[in-house]
């Protein structure tokens, strides 16, 4: 018999999932995960997630990218390879703007993707919830609430009892198959 990873409940409405998340937070469960086929902002709010760090990472990376691009253009044009074009000064900063602007956007966009993935702990090859029966429908039309066995309150009976009380379609224990 393999080790249990936790308990999972299946719902068919996003509102039911949001209610379940709120109830789980009230009951003191900490290591929970809500799965949904589309964004459910209310449930994310109930879990206390903030998306702001993605924005900070993107803005920070954009500024660093801009500074690097402008700095490189300045250093190359003034120190490494100054060329006299019709008597123009080597530090002709307006012509550095096109690539500074583009590199800033490039870095900010790449950082938005990478930052989102890192904050989400992705990419990863596997996760306990993938052992749950019927989990394929989490990317189609079903909603799941998972309580990890790593939760300090976790006991199979307590978790099952709590999830059953939420009125799900079914509750199953997640085990390696």
């Amino acid at each position: 018999m393999s080790e249990a990873h936790g308990m999972i409940a299946e719902f068919d409405e996003p509102e039911a999932l949001t209610e379940a998340v709120r109830a789980a937070r009230r009951a003191g469960w900490e290591r929970i995960e809500a799965l949904s086929p589309f964004p459910v902002p209310e449930a994310a709010e109930a879990l206390g997630v903030s998306a702001a760090p993605v924005g900070y990472i993107a803005i920070g990376a954009g500024l660093v990218g801009a500074a690097l691009a402008a700095g490189a253009a300045y250093y190359i044009s003034v120190h490494l390879y100054p060329v006299n074009v019709g008597g123009r000064p080597p530090n002709a900063w307006p012509v550095f703007l096109p690539n500074t602007y583009l590199v800033a956007i490039l870095w900010a966009c790449a950082a938005a993707l990478v930052g989102m993935l890192v904050l989400n702990g992705l990419p990863r090859l596997n996760h306990p919830v993938f052992f749950a029966r019927g989990i394929q429908r989490a990317t189609e039309d079903r909603f799941f609430l998972f309580i990890s066995s790593e939760d300090p309150l976790y006991a199979p009976d307590a978790a099952r009892g709590f999830l059953r009380g939420l009125g799900p379609l079914r509750v199953t224990e997640v085990r390696e198959r």
Partner: protein, 440 residues
């Protein structure tokens, strides 16, 4: 099985029909033409083209500016749909993004081949070469390098971020049918997406952020192309209004192509429910609006021309408007500004027979506009030297036809291998619509 996911996923998972195979075959033939044209330019140098002094840019820059315009307008449309939180359905943004990506791939051929020594294109990148030579940041070639690279990468990211959850759906669908090899391929690309609400929250933030940053990028991508003209001393090009003109007249091409694609897609993949009449209405009206904006740009061009005091600049404009350049100029006005106005008629907007030719002709009109700027802009120059005129060679026509085939091939493969419309957004909207109905 959800009735939303099934038809869209099916379109990507079922084996191809004869229509698809025939199109694929045609595109492959076009790709062969592209390969030959590229090889001709690489082996023979740019001398195989019709380019000569003063026509150093010719077909190459026309096609480059044209493809960038298509990519821009398609991305603009997709970004606006993503940034709108409510209201109209956003299902069409996915293939608008794909069209943008395919157009940039097509555009990227031109500046590299135009270098003449294509293998040295990396000299525009600042790296410590053994020659000790560094790129000049005042050079439009260097702007082009950064512009195209950022455009390709950001558009790809924009498309991919939106695709991640749908790739996870494809993974689970393929696994459910026992096609494990395919499931593993989709699974790797889905990066282990499991639909956690927490992940969704950050995903949406990242998606909107990139969409918001696509907007200034687009403005800049087309502006950089136009700036390369404006920084020359050619009278017809050396104008502050040129970047604006190129950005605005570029809109009907991309929107027209997206409109034609939407009409073809809903028929070919039986997705009428997802790309519905309301979507076609929005798109049709947008193309008509873009045509109006292009009309205003032409009006502005003529007004500025009349107010122009410099006789040479005026003569350059008159040569394009009433002289030898008149067919291309008025062809552009008719196709990209006037023709889309037909889309204000409700009956026409819903017929594929009408919108496909109007959309594609609008794109062709923008191509004529680029011809009018690039080739006919040189009709009057500072030196009254004999202008030999410009005739494109077969290698140039082959390159244009070949990149169109490449564009079509990339879109065909996108339509087949990945969900053509955004499944998670459609699911979300249908669930919201159901909730509203229940409240009533």
């Amino acid at each position: 099985m959800s009735d939303v996911t099934a038809p869209v996923a099916e379109a990507a998972l079922r084996p191809g029909r004869w229509g698809f195979r025939l199109s694929l075959l045609l595109c492959m033939a076009g790709l062969l033409v592209l390969a030959v044209s590229v090889a001709a330019a690489l082996v023979g140098g740019v001398g195989v083209w019709g380019n000569n002094i003063p026509h150093v840019w010719g077909f190459d820059l026309i096609a480059y500016a044209w493809w960038i315009g298509i990519a821009n307008a398609a991305s603009l449309f997709a970004a606006i749909l993503v940034l709108r939180k409510h209201g109209l359905r956003t299902s069409v943004n996915r293939f608008a993004e794909a069209a943008a990506l395919a157009a940039i791939l097509a555009a990227a051929f031109y500046p590299i081949l135009h270098l003449g020594r294509a293998k040295l294109f990396l000299w525009t990148f600042p790296y410590p070469a053994y020659t000790g030579v560094w790129p000049q940041f005042g050079s439009p070639l260097v702007w082009d390098f950064w512009g195209i690279m950022s455009h390709v990468i950001v558009t790809t990211l924009f498309w991919y971020i939106g695709l991640i959850p749908d790739l996870a759906t494809m993974r689970d669908r393929a696994a459910g049918r026992g096609r494990m090899g395919l499931a593993h391929a989709y699974g790797l690309l889905a990066l282990g997406w499991r639909g956690s609400v927490t992940h969704w929250h950050r995903h949406q933030a990242a998606y909107r952020l990139v969409a918001a940053m696509v907007l200034p990028l687009l403005l800049w991508a087309q502006t950089v192309v136009a700036l390369e003209f404006a920084t020359t001393l050619v009278p017809a090009w050396h104008q502050a209004r040129l970047p604006l003109h190129v950005v605005v007249t570029g809109l009907p091409s991309g929107l027209g192509v997206v409109l034609a694609l939407a009409a073809v897609l809903r028929l070919a993949l039986s997705l009428e429910r997802f790309v519905d009449d309301e979507d076609m209405d929005l798109l049709g009206r947008l193309v008509a609006c873009a045509g109006l904006a292009a009309g205003l740009a032409y009006g502005h061009e003529l007004l500025v021309g009349f107010l122009e005091e410099d006789p040479l600049t005026r003569a350059a404009l008159m040569a394009r408007v009433t002289g030898e350049g008149a067919p291309a100029y008025w062809g552009a006005v008719a196709l990209c500004a006037a023709l889309p106005q037909l889309l204000w008629i409700d009956a026409l907007r819903h017929r594929a027979v009408a919108v496909v030719p109007i959309g594609l002709l609008a794109a062709a009109g923008v191509w004529l506009d680029r011809w009018s700027i690039v080739v006919d802009g040189l009709l009057r120059d500072h030196l009254p030297a004999r202008n030999v005129g410009y005739t494109p060679s077969p290698a140039e026509w082959g390159l244009l036809g070949g990149t169109i085939a490449l564009f079509a091939l990339v879109l065909l493969l996108f339509g087949r291998l990945v969900p053509a419309i955004s499944m998670f957004e459609t699911r979300h909207e249908e669930s919201e619509a159901e909730a509203e109905e229940e409240e009533r």
